[in-house]
């Protein structure tokens, strides 16, 4: 892919009249031609599991149809711990769930792969949707969400999201999360609202442009100060536990610090392991945190949960396209909703910046594919004209777009003078595990919440609905699990679901030597299967040493 050389493009930009972009008449064919989801050959049909026959990105299909790296033998001698509820993943959804389980007086373990808070939640910038404006209503929030998602979301889930949203904001304030107000000098001032792309009303509430930092530091502190929540850092879930009837009865956790397995017997399991970005579908860079490798979804699928819209991903229009060390990093929609223009290498605006993300992304990919992009050191993108925004709104960078200014500093770009180069980045998993309004999956005792669940966003997510979703449904799942949990763990726990799974793999000619979940991206140089085979080998060698004495 080639584009217009950076210096030339910069000169074109300086001469730009910023004329309104041409009106988009045929959205569908733009999506079909340029959106990565629609590209031929990027998906394949699943041949095993509850979604047999459904199309899914090839990289993900491999993991969804993978084999477990552990067997019964690995679990012999593992530490066994009982709890009422096991929550997996300590981003926003997991923390909200754990807090509610604890508030209901139940025993809860919160196990997470990285450290608590190291998640997509802390990275969120733009904000969170809730219909609080006088010109707005939960009904409008509901309608906007369904429409943006191409009318295929689960109406009940969307209604739950929209009607709960104001209450969720109240709960967050009670936990100590702050929000921007219209008038900073008044305590009862209205909340500052911004308009998300694709919405009919201004509905985004935020804390500066690092809403996720504010949300996560509050939730993290709340969890860590709650003596009833046991937090296990660096303890990824590597398999779920089942009984003979296929119910979920706990999970197998691997402690990365001590290199040992722990068997957690739990009456209810809530998965909140987040998204898929670090699988780099279609070779795209990603805005996601290091641990976003679809682990929860892989494990939920293996134990029998049904998935939906797993062929639908969000490629955020404004990922960093240059320099390479920040490639794929996010530039929040806050910049476009504040009025920053997208300009191609010819110095022309080419799309209404506030159309839904899938459309804006496709338009950027079109500009790049048709040679109107900007090229710098082999990277191609378009300009996000921040200097022009700053000219029209002096001080906005310093006061409101703090994260963007920070990015400028990281990249040695003076954003008051120089535009940034952007290109779509793999940002969000629109679909996921099928759930009901309490986050329950089709597998008894198993809940899934947050980005790994599906049904709320249809085939496209609006800005701000993910943060709303993780808290609303995280809390609901926590409450529900606490209410229905049994104090006594199942008498018989094991890997019963694996026997059927492996039989299915063999019958369908799927290789059984592909293991999942991967836990860390390839460049993390971590191979779980190797790690445990090393463990076994060391154990044996130690034993034979002892024997010889």
């Amino acid at each position: 892919m080639a584009g217009i050389a950076y210096e030339q493009a910069l000169a074109n930009l300086r001469k730009s009249d910023y004329a309104s972009p041409p009106e988009l008449t045929d959205k569908q064919s733009l999506l079909k031609k340029y959106h990565p989801d629609y590209q031929e050959g990027s998906t394949q049909k699943l041949v095993v599991g509850a979604n047999k026959g459904d199309a899914c990105p090839t990289t993900l299909a491999k993991l969804l149809q993978s084999n477990a790296p552990i067997t019964d033998a690995d679990l012999a001698g593992a530490l066994v711990i009982n709890t009422e509820v096991l929550v997996v993943g300590a981003g926003g959804a997991g923390c909200a769930a754990a807090l509610e389980v604890s508030a209901a007086g139940r025993k809860v373990i919160l196990a997470t792969k990285l450290r608590i808070g190291d998640s997509n939640t802390v990275m969120a910038e733009g904000g969170i949707q809730a219909a609080v404006g006088e010109d707005d209503s939960p009904q409008t929030h509901y309608t906007d969400t369904l429409k943006a998602g191409h009318l295929c979301a689960d109406k009940k889930l969307v209604a739950q999201l929209a009607i709960s949203a104001p209450k969720t904001i109240r709960w967050l304030i009670e936990q100590g999360m702050s929000f921007d107000r219209e008038d900073t000098s008044s305590l009862s001032s209205k909340l500052l609202r911004k308009k998300p792309g694709g919405a009919t009303r201004a509905r985004i509430l935020s804390f500066k442009d690092y809403t996720g930092v504010e949300m996560m530091r509050v939730l993290r502190e709340a969890v860590e100060l709650d003596e009833r929540i046991i937090v296990w850092n660096r303890c990824p879930l590597v398999e779920l536990l089942s009984d003979e009837d296929g119910n979920c009865v706990g999970g197998v956790v691997y402690d990365l610090s001590t290199h040992r397995f722990m068997l957690v017997r739990a009456s209810k399991v809530i998965l909140a392991t987040g998204g898929t970005g670090r699988l780099h579908l279609n070779n795209f860079p990603t805005s996601n945190h290091y641990g976003a490798t679809a682990d929860g979804m892989v494990l939920a699928y293996r134990i029998g949960a049904k998935l939906r819209e797993i062929d639908s991903y969000q490629y955020h229009p404004t990922g960093v396209a240059w320099p390479s060390f920040r490639l794929g990093g996010l530039i929040s929609e806050a910049a476009r909703s504040a009025g920053a223009y997208l300009v191609n290498g010819e110095g022309k605006r080419f799309i209404d910046e506030l159309l839904p993300r899938d459309i804006v992304s496709s338009a950027i990919l079109r500009e790049c594919a048709e040679g109107r992009g900007v090229e710098r050191e082999g990277k191609v993108g378009v300009f996000l004209d921040v200097p022009d925004l700053e000219r029209r709104n002096p001080g906005i960078l310093k006061d409101r777009l703090v994260s963007l200014s920070h990015l400028g500093k990281q990249c040695d770009i003076d954003l008051t003078k120089e535009p940034v180069m952007v290109r779509p980045t793999l940002h969000y998993q629109n679909g996921g595990v099928v759930i009901d309004e309490n986050g329950m999956t089709t597998v008894p005792n198993l809940y899934c919440v947050g980005e790994m669940s599906g049904g709320i966003h249809g085939r496209n997510r609006m800005m701000g609905n993910a943060l709303q979703e993780i808290i609303t449904f995280g809390r609901r799942a926590g409450e529900h699990a606490a209410l229905t949990a049994n104090q006594y763990p199942a008498p018989k726990v094991g890997l019963f679901h694996l026997y059927n799974w492996q039989r299915e793999l063999i019958l369908s000619n799927v290789p059984t030597d592909v293991y999942g979940p991967i836990l860390f991206p390839e460049y993390g140089n971590f191979d779980f299967h190797k790690e445990i085979s090393l463990r076994t080998r060391t154990k044996h060698s130690v034993k034979s040493n002892n024997d010889s004495h």
């Binding site: 990285l114 450290r115 808070g117 190291d118 802390v122 990275m123 809730a130 609080v132 404006g133 006088e134 209503s137 939960p138 009904q139 309608t143 369904l146 429409k147 109406k155 009940k156 209604a159 929209a162 009607i163 104001p166 209450k167 904001i169 109240r170 304030i173 009670e174 936990q175 100590g176 702050s178 107000r181 305590l187 009862s188 209205k190 909340l191 690092y210 996720g212 930092v213 530091r217 509050v218 502190e221 100060l225 660096r234 990365l256 945190h289 290091y290 641990g291 060390f325 920040r326 990093g329 996010l330 994260s403 920070h406 990281q410 836990l519 860390f520 460049y523 993390g524 140089n525 971590f526």
Partner: protein, 214 residues
Amino acid sequence: MKENNCVSLVVNGKQLKADEGCSILEAVMKSGETVTDNIGCSGQGVCGSCRVLVRRQDEKKIISTLACETKVEEGLQVSFLDHLPVNHRQHVYKTNDWEGKSWNILQRINEVFPEAKHCRHCGGCDNACPKHLEVQKGVNMAAEGDLNAAAIFNECIMCNLCTIACPEMISPNHLGTYVRRLTTAMTLRPSDLLRRLHQIDSGEMTIDLDAEIK
């Protein structure tokens, strides 16, 4: 020795080569090391998990910073830091801590963070902070009951570097978060939110699942 656009540096005692322009974190990954810790946001600089001490070639000074935001340099010495000091003191409170005691906020702050008034003004926290916040000022304001301290910690990413640096075990960032959380929980009452909650609770606003979508 410096090669074309390539530098060598030492990370946790191991010599690495890396391309100029890449971050310390990237360099570690590219070197083939297994990375399962000290990483999260991987470059955005917001999760605070990649904390390192670095020393530049021919410089005595050791600085603390974030590995994902710091570019490699020839001769850089880097050590990743563990997450909390061994004898870290937990400051325990509830979000309704100030309820009915709002005239005693100063006492409450001093009860929960008794060390705060012992600040030695050593500047350790300010030097440690990779976000260059005025941590010491925030601590001193909080210790005097000045709730404007909250704003000083607006951009704090809870990397805990100031907590590690503080000889008085004050845990500046947790103090900042305490003041932030309680101030908000106690006082933020947006009128539009109050109204909407009332409309929903009273049944005045509901959702019609089957409303026509235009």
